[in-house]
């Protein structure tokens, strides 16, 4: 079977209408053929449009409740840290050596709990910020701009969401580490006017950065966003280099 034969099978595969043997043969081909995988993605989009031929229907409100109950159970299970108490018999059995070992274990447990407590706080903060971000982007009139890293930060990405009052949030990922005494700074550029400075921020050790911002009113008119590396206190005019920028204003 040649490549074109496989391509001919893909529309039927998007409808899951291939018989078992043909489906298996095509699946093996798809593992090694990026072009056909892309073709399948495109055909699946066409197939998905057929869902509109079904009449929309309202499920029982209980379905939503059941889903969210399961989700809450899942969240509570993953946040629980099991704690096991140590039996008194252990002390008497091992005497002072046991006491020392227990002391070491106890210290390790305390250190572990502190680490978990910090991690939980970090996760809670991140979730809170994610909620705020979702609230912002789903508010009426909200706009979203994607920023992409340039040479010095190739692979870095950032998203800025802002509403009609200029409340903005920035979420960045894969940012290079900042040298000591430096920070990233957000800029708003409108037309040919000089860039307007935003706040500075520093990414965490994994290159993620988040920041809330109040945009100047004059920056709300179709701004381009840029991020540069500046002195930690920020600059009033960019000293370059640009690390990320949004694409041309639409």
């Amino acid at each position: 079977m040649v490549h074109e034969d496989y391509k001919e099978m893909i529309p039927a595969r998007a409808l899951s209408a291939l018989d078992a043997a043909e489906a298996q043969t095509l699946n093996e081909h798809l593992e090694n053929c990026a072009e056909c995988r892309k073709e399948l993605d495109d055909w699946q989009a066409t197939a998905a449009a057929l869902a509109f031929d079904a009449n929309p229907a309202e499920p029982s409100p209980k379905v939503r409740e059941r889903i969210l109950d399961e989700v809450r159970k899942d969240l509570s299970e993953t946040n629980v840290v099991p704690f096991r108490s140590t039996s008194r018999n252990l002390w008497s059995s091992f005497g002072s050596l046991g006491a020392m070992a227990a002391a070491v274990l106890f210290t390790a447990l305390i250190v572990g709990l502190v680490v978990i407590w910090r991690q939980n706080n970090a996760i809670r903060d991140e979730l809170q910020q994610s909620r705020e971000f979702v609230q912002l982007v789903t508010s009426p009139g909200a706009r979203v701009r994607e920023l992409k890293g340039v040479d010095l930060a190739a692979g870095a990405t950032a998203t800025v969401a802002y509403d009609t009052n200029g409340h903005a949030m920035l979420v960045a990922d894969k940012l290079p580490r900042v040298p000591q005494g430096k920070a990233y700074q957000l800029w708003f550029i409108v037309g040919n006017k000089p860039p307007m400075p935003g706040k500075t921020f520093a990414p965490d050790s994994s290159g993620k950065g988040r920041m809330k911002e109040q945009m100047p009113r004059e920056a709300l008119d179709s701004p381009t966003f840029a991020i540069t590396l500046e002195p930690a206190g920020g600059s009033t005019t960019p000293t370059m280099p640009i690390y990320l920028s949004s694409s041309a204003v639409n």
Binding site: E8, P11, L15, D19, A49, P56
Partner: protein
């Protein structure tokens, strides 16, 4: 070109779900519940089964949101493909092949609680309905039997009493024509 705001927002919701944000999952459910439940009702023709599968779909979204790859397609395509796949799996499990006898004649009438808040208004349905109306019946039937009834090409050939090769050709020709008819409507249709 920037994605449409709704698409951008869907992607952000999936990112928030991947970060285990319960409220984001609730928002995604509220946005897509009627289209996905309508699809599952059409496939399963059983309210209890369809609600059970809808629950499975959103719990899978909760667990697998991080697997969504925006370079491979839109969130809508991902959600519909997930729901349809689960629906067809359930259909095959309950082995309701007697449904074949009534395939194509099935209609599900359900009330929509608040059409104004639904992400999918009549515009999108009209686009697909118009495109399907332009397909010759001989091409449309194999596609619909595969999509909504989960039949394979061999099963469709048996059901329609047509040679397998004819079914394959008509299905492929119909899909190509459907793609042409929907071309340029991607933003409206979410793909």
């Amino acid at each position: 070109m920037h994605p449409e705001p709704a698409q951008e927002s869907d992607i952000l919701l999936l990112k928030a779900i991947a970060a285990r944000d319960e409220a984001a999952l609730a928002q995604l459910y509220d946005r897509y519940r009627t289209i996905l439940f309508g699809l599952l009702m059409r496939i399963l023709n059983n309210r209890e089964e369809a609600e059970d599968v809808l629950q499975e779909v959103f719990l899978q979204v909760w667990r697998k949101a991080a697997d969504f790859d925006e370079s491979r397609g839109r969130p809508f395509t991902w959600l519909v493909t997930l729901a349809r796949s689960r629906g067809i799996d359930r259909l095959r499990t309950i082995a309701s092949r007697e449904r074949v006898a009534e395939a194509g004649a099935r209609e599900v009438s359900e009330e929509i609680s608040d059409a104004a808040t639904d992400a999918f208004k009549s515009e999108q349905r009209g686009l697909v309905s118009d495109a399907l109306a332009k397909l010759p019946d001989e091409q449309k039937r194999p596609i619909m039997l595969a999509y909504f009834d989960g039949l394979t090409q061999s099963e469709i050939a048996t059901h329609l009493g047509s040679p397998l090769g004819t079914v394959k050709t008509r299905m492929r020709t119909g899909m190509i024509r459907l793609r042409e008819l929907l071309a340029g409507q991607g933003e409206s249709l979410g793909f």
